[in-house]
Symmetry: C4
Subunit: 444 residues, 4 copies
């Protein structure tokens, strides 16, 4: 009787899983189709390639939708006009489902942590879940704002000075896609390495089968409540994959925005660079000042929409770097673990640095006109130039972390200093006081 | 003979206590009456509702007077003209009495600490008493300045652009009262939770009766000198309640000021936002610049009056957060203690953050006009606009902590960083060096 | 034979000592005479009282000369013209002798430390000697610059708006002297307390006679090389007294300068405060701008002369505060020691804070005109006002510590934060992990 | 047979070594010749001495080429026109060879560290090798940019106001050479001291012969893989010498640049200082503003070329200071070691401070014109003066560390604070809790 019930429950779950799997596959396929389309169009029909940010970011957003983020429709549409957000689209429900399952997973994680000793390491899954949960919720909000944001973005883009040739026009988009897919690939590689290191060198197996043991370990918070079952384990693994990629995706998305916004400023700067040494009419300066102003207003609008994600991204990166450094004190159980561990730490450090550099490029580019205005000759120094210079001197243009900090290159030093201080204190605590004594091991 | 004397002393004390109690009840009643009046008038006679800060803050000040702070008369008067401060009013004497009793309590606390080991935890009662004592004294000074301050405030308020409808006019006042009473309610709840956790789960009872044991523990500094007596215990408890609410009230009061001042700037900004994109006559800019300047002068005057309270509020919040984090390392004796502890920590963190955000809103709103002035078109860019922009670019408008620090959003990061560093060092010290070893507890 | 030699040596030393003592007494007498004269003149002949800084600072400099600092002649002269510095004056040789004897004392201290374990406490005498030595040398240099500096100072003072009455004119000088002599008196009291606590409660006597034991302890670095002798002990004690007062004097001198310079700015501000709300002719603004500029140039000149002393003062105060906090962890051997220790710590903290506040008052006063210029009405807003405001907005006027840091109120927070962090780490290390356990000691 | 092979291999190596040695000697000779020439010309033919930076820096670059850095040709040429960089010159190949051998050495060092316990000390050789490797690579890049940079530099130099006499003209060059050669000499002395302390007081000899034992220790990473052989040991020693001097040279080179750039600004400032108090025609201000601007543009160009070296220099100095402080806790095995250790620490601290001060002098000199412009009288206050002042007020002119931080005097405080904090934490950990107890050792 009990067996029958269990089998029934199991069957139902399997059916459920199959349906979910199909939805996921369909989504993945449509995402890839969209991506392939945009790619094909991009290379074959170059005359159609309008160099807009909307077009460039489409495949990156398609990937996001595979991982249940950014449920906005029409990302593959030729112009921003095709974008729309609806509470009734399947993408919205799909994202909401993801939010719910993450919440449930979080609840199990909290339950698990509450039963163990509370310290900086054991809260890791909670920090991980909470940061992804808030970020996902922020992405849901962002999806709602995205069509309006892209409309504003396109309006500013139209006012920018044109590219001289179509090759130059395609470059920012290509660079953006390259960065995104390299990061996604490395992220995938890191996840595979983590699986390999755990499956093949499992030093405290929980079950006989190494795959089962791995799956058990991945969703340990579930199997403290439920008995082990393969379908639940796979569901947990899928959830875990979604979370991991969601976490990496945050950073990738911010880099995309950073590249898009700084490219706009760079286009303005390239135009200024050419004109600045000769006396220009006042109208030119009015044009460049208002153009600069409209880019700054766009940056402010984008910042209002993503500053929450920014705070979570920087905060969680800082937490996980400190945590990895803390773990680095321990000796590794096997060289597979060591390889995975240092690869993972390096990836984390590079990704964090990359986010900071790409996003702070906005600030660098926004300060550049100030330098150029210094070169305006006396005969072309109109009151408009003076106004432009005075405004530039007192503005601080940058994306922010919930307005608490500006993302500039100076932030790097502050973060590096924090990590270095932590590392020093850490090492100090674990220092085994060896000193000037003679170690005969390397005599021959 | 000795018994008789003791009984006499006891009788006198009881009589004293009764009188004190009556005064306190009368005060509470009058405060509540004032509050009820102002509420009734606010909802029934909307045409009378003038949206002034004086009116909005009245019930919050009435609550303060229940807890012996801000002994200014006429807070329930229809206009600021009714406000007065007199050294001969009962409110003043009542506040002075409170100051004296707090000083005496402080003396007993110091005596107790001096007889124990001196460390960061044992000085807690001293820090608590001293910060409240100084704050109460500052409130007494502030009461003296309050009528003048409100006159200045009303003068500035009259110059502000009007609200479009009376609903909009009532909103800031409603928001202010809501925030204040939610905080007071949560503060009350936290105190009750603390009583419950100690009374019902007292793990080291000092007396047989749990209530007596609780009262004994609350005023332990007294009962090291005097033998236990119920009336003294209840007096101590009243003092303790007054102190606890006084401590919370500091933060609430600062939030009120922050909301009032930033609302004034927001009203100016709303007006600018509407006019800024079209060419306005120079007189408009003179008007807005002088209005902005008079708000800034008001902020400076308020800052001179409350910057001491600000310093104490921020300092004591930071100290108590660090202390609670230090305590969080210990295991809790019961789950009632755990619930109380985490509720209390969360309340403390939220309250501190709320003070910072509400007060730093002044700085946010004061920087907003600078952004708006960037949008003034060339045809409307009068010298007055330039002067306004230049002044805005070099001013730093914010409430301060005794001029030592400005309360801006950047401060949040500095405080969060300090707390996080402390927490990291703390955890590092108590880290029990568990690592990659296999914990078999969660195998099935 | 050996005895004879020793006696000879002893005699010679005694003679030497007597001569030295006479010089010292003569110097003290002349200093006191100067002081008495300046005092008498100050109270009796008020019409002569010209309110100049030269006159106000004279008695403070006279005290400095008693302690072998600032060997400038003519400090008691009626005007700055009487000041002179000569390499051939007895004051110069006296100061040089002091520098030499301090160097010798330092050498003995280094010798002593090199023979003990090197840690943060044992280097205390070295830090103490080195900081006084450098400061004395800086004072010697300053004496050379002093006549020129006072000439410049008097030139600026003559241009300042006059005082309305002679009472007001005398006030800054009186305030200056009051602060200086209160601090000197407390410093003396602290030294006496230190003697009392060591002499009467000596818990590890090195010799039988308590006074001898005290003197031995004071100059322990000498008696590791030479056998104990009373005259050497007394010489060492005199050196010790000179060092201790020299150390306090650094801070007092910096406060005097801070008060003098900020008073000049305050006089300008009082004038501006009266005129700023009405439209003034352009010449008024030229006058005030150039006056402000000449005060700033004077501040810069003073800063070039004293920034070294400033760095040493702030650095040594920070070091000694940290050291005292480190010592505060230990239990005191007697309550006399405890009283002395907490008095000394409190004195150190107050003195450091006072230096910072008095010196940073320069920065506060220098920023004040910027606020006042905001109030200039449109009709009086000449280009000169704009220039004045623009210059004020970008200037940072303050005394500095060797140009490495500006002494402003913000510095206080940085220093307090450093001390608090150190204290927290300290307490954390010595925390004896007591927690929620029941301490039955205070049951009745 | 095996012996024969070994002998063959050995012979080949010896031949190789001889050829290498000849190349090195030839290079050294040519470098010294160049140096001698430039010196002779400088003193004998003063009328030829044109006071250019190219000429002044020539001997310093010649020394660099002895240590395989900066492979640019024509540094001894009379003007910048003789400079060239070619991939086919022997200097380039020589530098490349050095890069390769350093890489190989790094690989051996990593191999060695990977086999030992990983902590802050054991990574020392890796940090050392990696920082020199990157710096050498940066110097290679810089060599490529050097001819263009010097052309720009000379163009700016020609525009500067002339020196009044030829003695004054020669002074900056002399000062530059003096600083460079004093530092090189002290660096050599430090290296010799290190050899002496190890060779003569070797407390854990690895081989019988003290020299062999020293050489073995110097290249321990090699002799873990290969058996000991004298020629390999000497090769390793040469590599070690090149690395050590390369490391010192980084700092010296940055000081040279700092002196050169700040001297240019100082020349402009001296001209301004003379003219600023009298009303000058507008053309004068246009001239000085554009001159200032061209110096700033040159500084920016230099910064783009050397900011990488700057980051490595500051980073590695900070790391090695912390490491030396960590080592200072240990007791020294002999007084020779102690002398070497404290000399080395002092040298490191002075060198780091010197780099910071010389490089930050650029910032100091660049801020100086702002002060001077304040003194321009009303009659000479042209719009150009206002523009100049406004630009100065908002510019931050300084060399940077990869744009992450500006090298200004304020940086010193930040670095000193970091080092002091580290030192305090360090001491705290090793504090042996001695306190008020009586130490009878110094009783007589």
């Amino acid at each position: 009787m009990r067996q029958l019930k269990e089998r029934n429950r199991c069957n139902r779950s399997v059916r459920h899983l199959k349906i979910q799997g199909k939805i996921w596959l369909k989504n993945l396929k449509s995402g890839l189709d969209q991506f392939r389309e945009s790619q094909v169009r991009g290379t074959r029909t170059n005359f159609l390639h309008d160099g807009s940010f909307h077009e460039a970011v489409a495949p990156v957003l398609a990937v996001a939708q595979c991982f249940c983020l950014m449920p906005v429709s029409g990302i593959g549409a030729p112009t921003y006009r095709g974008l729309s957000f609806s509470r009734r689209s399947w993408r919205f429900w799909y994202s909401s489902l993801y939010l719910c399952s993450t919440s449930v997973d979080l609840a199990f994680s909290i339950r698990r942590v509450a039963h163990s000793v509370l310290d900086v390491r054991s809260v890791e899954p909670i920090v991980f879940h909470v940061s992804i949960l808030i970020a996902s919720w922020q992405f849901l909000n962002l999806a709602q704002l995205w069509p309006g944001l892209m409309r504003h973005w396109a309006a500013v883009e139209r006012r920018l000075p044109g590219y001289s040739c179509c090759l130059q026009r395609a470059r920012p988009a290509r660079r953006l896609k390259l960065v995104a897919f390299v990061l996604l690939a490395v992220s995938l590689m890191e996840h595979l390495l983590s699986i390999i290191s755990v499956v093949y060198y499992d030093f405290c197996p929980r079950r006989k089968d190494p795959v089962e043991s791995y799956l058990h370990g991945t969703s340990a918070q579930l199997f403290e409540v439920f008995p082990y079952s393969n379908w639940l384990a796979w569901l947990g693994k899928i959830q875990n994959v979604l979370l991991t990629f969601g976490w990496s995706y945050m950073d990738i998305f911010l880099m995309m925005l950073g590249m898009g916004l700084s490219e706009m400023l760079a286009r303005l700067n390239r135009s200024l660079e050419q004109q600045v040494r000769q006396p220009m009419p006042e109208a030119y300066w009015t044009w460049s000042r208002t153009l600069y102003r409209s880019i700054v207003e766009l940056i402010r609008e984008v910042d209002d929409a993503v500053s929450g994600i920014m705070l979570i991204s920087f905060g969680s990166n800082l937490y996980f770097i400190c945590l990895q450094l803390l773990k680095s004190i321990n000796t590794m159980p096997s060289s597979a673990h060591a390889v995975y561990f240092y690869f993972s730490l390096l990836f984390l450090l590079s990704r964090s640095t990359a986010v900071l550099l790409f996003v702070s490029a906005i600030n660098d580019q926004a300060r550049e006109p100030l330098r150029l205005l210094r070169l305006v000759p006396l005969s072309g120094y109109h009151p408009e130039v003076f106004r432009f210079a005075a405004e530039l001197a007192s503005d601080q243009v940058a994306l922010t972390g919930l307005k608490f900090f500006n993302v500039t290159r100076k932030l790097f030093l502050a973060m590096a200093g924090t990590v270095a201080t932590y590392e020093l204190v850490l090492i100090q605590f674990h220092e085994d006081k060896k000193s000037w004594d003679c170690s005969p091991s390397n005599h021959d």
